[in-house]
């Protein structure tokens, strides 16, 4: 039987939520919706407007990107993966299609619910910010590494 506590456990394993108080995660889980997808069903499509993010509870999903040559699977996501999180932080269209690879259990977190929680509990906002900053730091580091490699090639 699915229950809130199970979902809270799952949410805690998502890095963005890792540092957030369990009671707040429980509220987030309560306001979220359990949603099951069939094999090959699209969770969302590239170019759609993003209104929610999903946590994979069970099963796996392909990340599919449209290229001029047709669709290409660029990654496979499994348990605990957090999909479409950028969409609930800012307004951007979906950058890829997510397609269920098997029967897929997810937790759907709607944008306005997530933002409503963040607004209400500034601590949560700080945690999210910290996580995003960490990611940015990581990305920046990677970028500079790539630059160095490029420079090294160029010379």
């Amino acid at each position: 039987m699915s229950s809130l506590s199970e979902e809270v456990d799952m949410l805690r394993r998502v890095p963005l939520f890792a540092q957030i108080e369990p009671s707040k995660l429980k509220l987030l889980a309560f306001t979220s919706e359990r949603l099951a997808f069939d094999e090959n069903q699209d969770v969302f499509r590239q170019g759609d407007e993003g209104d929610a993010a999903y946590v994979i509870m069970q099963g796996s999903a392909d990340v599919v990107v449209n290229t001029p040559k047709g669709e290409t699977v660029v990654a496979v996501l499994g348990d605990n993966a957090f999909i479409g999180e950028i969409a609930i932080l800012c307004d951007v269209p979906r950058t890829a299609t997510i397609r269920a690879k098997s029967d897929l259990q997810t937790l759907k977190i709607k944008k306005e619910d997530f933002l409503g929680l963040v607004k209400e509990f500034p601590d949560m906002a700080v945690e999210v910010m910290r996580e995003l900053a960490a990611r940015l730091g990581k990305t920046t580091a990677e970028l500079s590494q790539v630059r160095q490699q490029l420079d090294a090639k160029g010379t």
Partner: protein
């Protein structure tokens, strides 16, 4: 109109003489004969009445006291007819016409008593007849008056409705004329009668003594002089009372109609103050009225008592001085007893007369506007209505509104039934006014508009109302079924009488006779009114087909189908239909056996717990009919509680309620009370969170029996709404489910007789009359948490309905959907589409559309316009018709062959769209700016 020719309309439609300004004249005009008749009857009834008055004396004096029966075996004549001839005529003395029967004392008593009983019956019957007659006379008159007022509303000039508020008109017709009914029967009888009584008493006093008579007379004169003067103020107050009460009705109507504005502007207190001040004014008026009324009453009584005082004083003086003998004085005083009663009643009658006269005048004033439509323009025509061949000729038409604004200036053009014309312009450019003028809604202030070469104003409404159709920006739908709303424009006059088996000829004859007696129309509302000729068919099935096609034109068919799925079917009224949907249910169940689909729906099975439904629903396993088993009332229902405790569930429910309350308060305690998340919490409101926290603290370790009854109810209430897959608190284990299933059976089996019609149980084999059509087909719940679940289920249901060819039936149910007060159960775009369909169904020669699709998105508007134009040009084989369409967006004009461009109230351009674009005038600007 075969078989239903004009002779039926041979009744006096409405006599349209200006209504009489005096109520008396008005009543007299219509009830002269009846008034005289009732007066005669009353006079006749006086004979037995006075005879009966004499009888008791005779019974007591005669047989009882034994007067005239002194000797043994003495007899008296019964029913002897004899009278004394006055000595100045003849000296015959007593003339005996009939000697009567000689009877002994006891038989005489019996006979007299029997006679007395006979008189009691006769008098009673007279009274009964007179009262019934008067009542009927009054009610008929009231019916006539109300009908005339209603008839006038139907003929008022449109501009007049800007001044008159709907609730005010309703109050006038319903309440203000009501007291007239009671007055009409007494109008003539009362004064004649009371006046007669008063005069007799007066005369008697005069005969006894002139001076005493003069005193009594002069005091009556003082009354007659004083009271009307005092009453003048009463009249003014009466008028004001009526007007303020009417205005109150108007204001209440405004508040109700504009209740959203009140809420969105937080003006409820302003409205409260306004209503309170009006109530205050009404109170003040009524209070003053009462004071004055009672003062007049006091004065009346005082004057009435003053007379005996004068009698004693002056009469006594006269007796002492010897100018009057004591017998006369006693007779005068005795006679005077009969005077104040009738005089007071006369004054009361006069008061009532004035009252109803005021009410009447105040109402009539509002119903005499200038320029009312002639009644002849509305009488149902006997023959077919001619088609429009030439169309409109508009010549220098101008419209100026009340405020003096030029809405339209000097517009001149011609437009026929073979043309499709677009009228464009900015808002209030004059195009809208032009459409209203053509539809006869607005009357031009200058210039002339003619239809078929005859002034539009002079046309019978049957021509403009049937051969042209108008769709305006405001849609008003009366509260009927969707079908009736759609066919509304086809109900001009009865085309066929009711089939004989549906008519009770006696009842119908009575209806017709009564209608004639009250000057009402006798058109049968239950006859067949659908204009089959316009519809092109007499077959109602084909008519529905026509409707379906038109709903396709306005893209409303799917909506009606959805309304059908949400609608209800009464299996008792329509068992065949219900059976068909049970078939659909079975077919759906078969499909759902497919594993890919089975997880979408959880079917209701009597022997298994339905996770997707709430605990309360699982317990009831049915739909509540009426308030007894409503969701919120379950916990307070004694029978439900009884079942719970019998099945050992009460403690379990209490514990479950505890857990729900714990989780809910834990989740929500930190949120501000206005947070939108509270909407997700179906169990409690934000205000209740602290209450539950306190209750949890109070009863942390308590069992159900230790908790106070208020706490019991607080916690027991919660589990009813719990749905496991939705709330996911993890509170339902197998043991609990089994117990709930037991409780379900116990609930059903032990249901007391008194509640048997309070619930319709779910049964896979039976149609549930309380549930919607869709719920009946499904007989289950769409599962939570399946992506696109509801959409997939809908597709499967549609497939099943297609397979069983039940779409038509669903559509029929949708046509029966009640559109609600003012059509408010439909959304704005549905209402607009419906009103366009309603215009098209008339098959008009000319269709006038005035910014009527504003609520639709522009793509839908364009598609609908194109389809209507296709119909209008006759491309689809139907009869072509003319279109005058005031467009919302000028670019839609491309689809039309001719465009009229209005600018600042004037007709600026008139050409084909291509030519207009070339010229680069207003049209180009309009098109390029949107």
């Amino acid at each position: 109109m075969q078989g239903y020719e004009g002779e039926l309309w041979g009744l006096a439609w409405v006599d349209d003489i200006l209504m009489e300004s005096s109520l008396f004249k008005y009543i007299w005009r219509y009830t002269r004969a009846q008034q005289i008749w009732i007066l005669t009857i009353i006079l006749i009834s006086m004979v037995p009445y006075f005879l009966a008055l004499d009888l008791p004396k005779r019974i007591v004096n005669g047989p009882i006291q034994g007067q005239g029966f002194e000797g043994e075996g003495a007899t008296q004549p019964f029913l002897q007819i004899a009278f004394d001839v006055p000595s100045w005529i003849s000296s015959v003395g007593t003339v005996t016409l009939f000697n009567g029967f000689e009877l002994g004392q006891l038989p005489f008593l019996f006979c007299l008593c029997a006679t007395f009983l006979g008189f009691v019956c006769i008098n009673g019957l007279f009274k009964f007849y007179i009262n019934t007659y008067k009542g009927r006379l009054g009610e008929r008159m009231l019916r006539r008056l109300r009908y005339q007022l209603l008839d006038r509303i139907l003929r008022f000039p449109n501009s007049y409705f800007r001044r008159i508020k709907a609730p005010e008109a309703a109050t006038m017709i319903k309440d203000e004329v009501e007291p007239l009914g009671g007055f009409i029967g007494d109008m003539l009888v009362q004064p004649v009668f009371l006046g007669g009584q008063a005069l007799t008493a007066m005369l008697f006093i005069m005969v006894q003594d002139f001076w005493l008579g003069a005193i009594a007379g002069s005091i009556v004169l003082v009354q007659a002089f004083l009271i009307p003067r005092l009453r003048r103020r009463l009249l003014i107050l009466g008028k004001r009372r009526q007007l303020t009460a009417r205005a109150l009705a108007g204001r209440v109507g405004e508040v109700v109609d504009g209740i959203n504005n009140v809420h969105t502007n937080d003006t409820s207190n302003w409205e409260r103050a306004d209503l309170a001040s009006r109530l205050g004014t009404i109170f003040a008026i009524r209070y003053e009225l009462f004071q004055r009324k009672f003062f007049i009453k006091f004065l009346n009584n005082f004057l009435a008592q003053l007379t005996p005082f004068m009698f004693y004083l002056i009469g006594g003086y006269l007796v002492i001085t010897g100018d009057l003998d004591i017998g006369q004085l006693v007779a005068v005083i005795a006679a005077y007893k009969d005077l104040p009663g009738p005089v007071a009643d006369l004054i009361a009658y006069d008061q009532q007369r004035l009252d109803v006269q005021i009410k009447y005048t105040q109402v009539i004033e509002q119903f005499q506007p200038d320029n009312m439509m002639e009644p002849e323009l509305q009488t149902p025509p006997a023959g077919p209505v001619p088609e429009i061949k030439e169309g409109f000729a508009v010549s220098r038409v101008g419209v100026v509104d009340d405020a003096g604004t030029n809405l339209l200036e000097s517009a001149t053009f011609k437009f026929g039934p073979n043309e499709q014309v677009a009228a464009v312009g900015t808002v209030n450019s004059g195009a809208e006014t032009m459409a209203d003028v053509m539809a006869r809604i607005t009357v031009p202030t200058s210039g002339s508009i003619s239809l078929e070469g005859q002034s539009l104003d002079d046309h019978h409404e049957s021509l403009t109302g049937r051969r042209t159709a108008y769709v305006g920006p405001d849609v008003y739908l009366p509260q009927t079924s969707f079908r009736d709303a759609l066919f509304y424009g086809l109900k001009h006059q009865p085309v066929r009488e009711r089939p004989p088996e549906e008519v009770d000829p006696k009842e119908r004859a009575w209806e017709i006779a009564e209608a004639a007696l009250a000057g009402n129309t006798d058109l049968d509302i239950k006859a067949e009114w659908l204009d089959f000729e316009a519809l092109g068919t007499e077959d109602l099935k084909v008519a529905d087909e026509v409707a379906r096609n038109l709903l396709d034109v306005v893209e409303l068919r799917q909506d009606v189908f959805d309304l059908g799925l949400r609608g209800q079917v009464d299996p008792e009224q329509d068992p065949e239909l219900a059976a068909k949907f049970i078939e659909a249910r079975k077919a759906l169940r078969q499909r759902l056996e497919d594993p890919a689909l089975s997880k979408l729906v959880e079917l209701f099975e009597p022997n298994s717990y339905s996770l997707q439904a709430s605990v309360g629903e699982n317990l009831l396993f049915g739909t509540a009919l009426g308030p007894t088993f409503e969701r919120e009332k379950l916990v307070g229902n004694t029978y439900v509680r009884e079942v719970l405790s019998k099945c050992g569930l009460d403690q379990a429910f209490f514990d479950m309620g505890h857990k729900i309350a714990e989780t809910a308060t834990e989740l929500f305690k930190d949120l501000p009370p206005d947070h939108p998340f509270f909407e997700r919490l179906s169990f409690m409101t934000s205000e209740e969170i602290p209450e539950y926290e306190a209750a949890l603290a109070r009863s942390a370790s308590q069992s159900l029996t230790d908790a106070s009854s208020a706490d019991q109810e607080m916690f027991l209430r919660l589990p009813f709404d719990y749905v496991e897959p939705q709330h996911r608190f993890g509170l339902l284990d197998d043991d609990m489910k089994n117990k709930l299933l037991e409780a379900r059976t116990a609930f059903r089996e032990g249901l007391p007789e008194t509640h048997s019609d309070a619930i319709a149980f779910y049964d896979p084999e039976v149609y549930n009359p309380a549930a919607s059509l869709q719920d009946n087909i499904l007989m289950g719940r769409v599962a939570y948490g399946v992506a696109e679940g509801p959409e997939k289920v809908r597709d499967v249901i549609h497939d099943v309905l297609d397979e069983l060819e039940l779409r038509d039936e669903v559509f029929q149910v949708g046509l029966n959907f009640n559109v609600g007060n003012g059509g408010k159960r439909l959304n704005v775009s549905q209402r607009q589409k419906l009103s366009l369909a309603r215009a098209l169904i008339k098959k008009p020669d000319i269709l006038i559309v005035n910014r009527a699709l504003t609520a639709l998105d522009s793509r839908t508007q364009q598609r609908i316009i194109e389809r209507v134009l296709q119909m209008a040009s006759g491309e689809d084989g139907s009869d072509p018709f003319g279109v005058f369409w005031v467009l919302q967006a000028p670019r839609f004009a491309e689809a039309f062959k001719r465009v009229l461009v209005f600018d600042k109230g004037a007709l600026a351009e008139d050409d084909t769209p291509a030519n207009l674009l070339e010229q680069g005038g207003h049209y180009t600007t309009l098109v390029s700016s949107t």
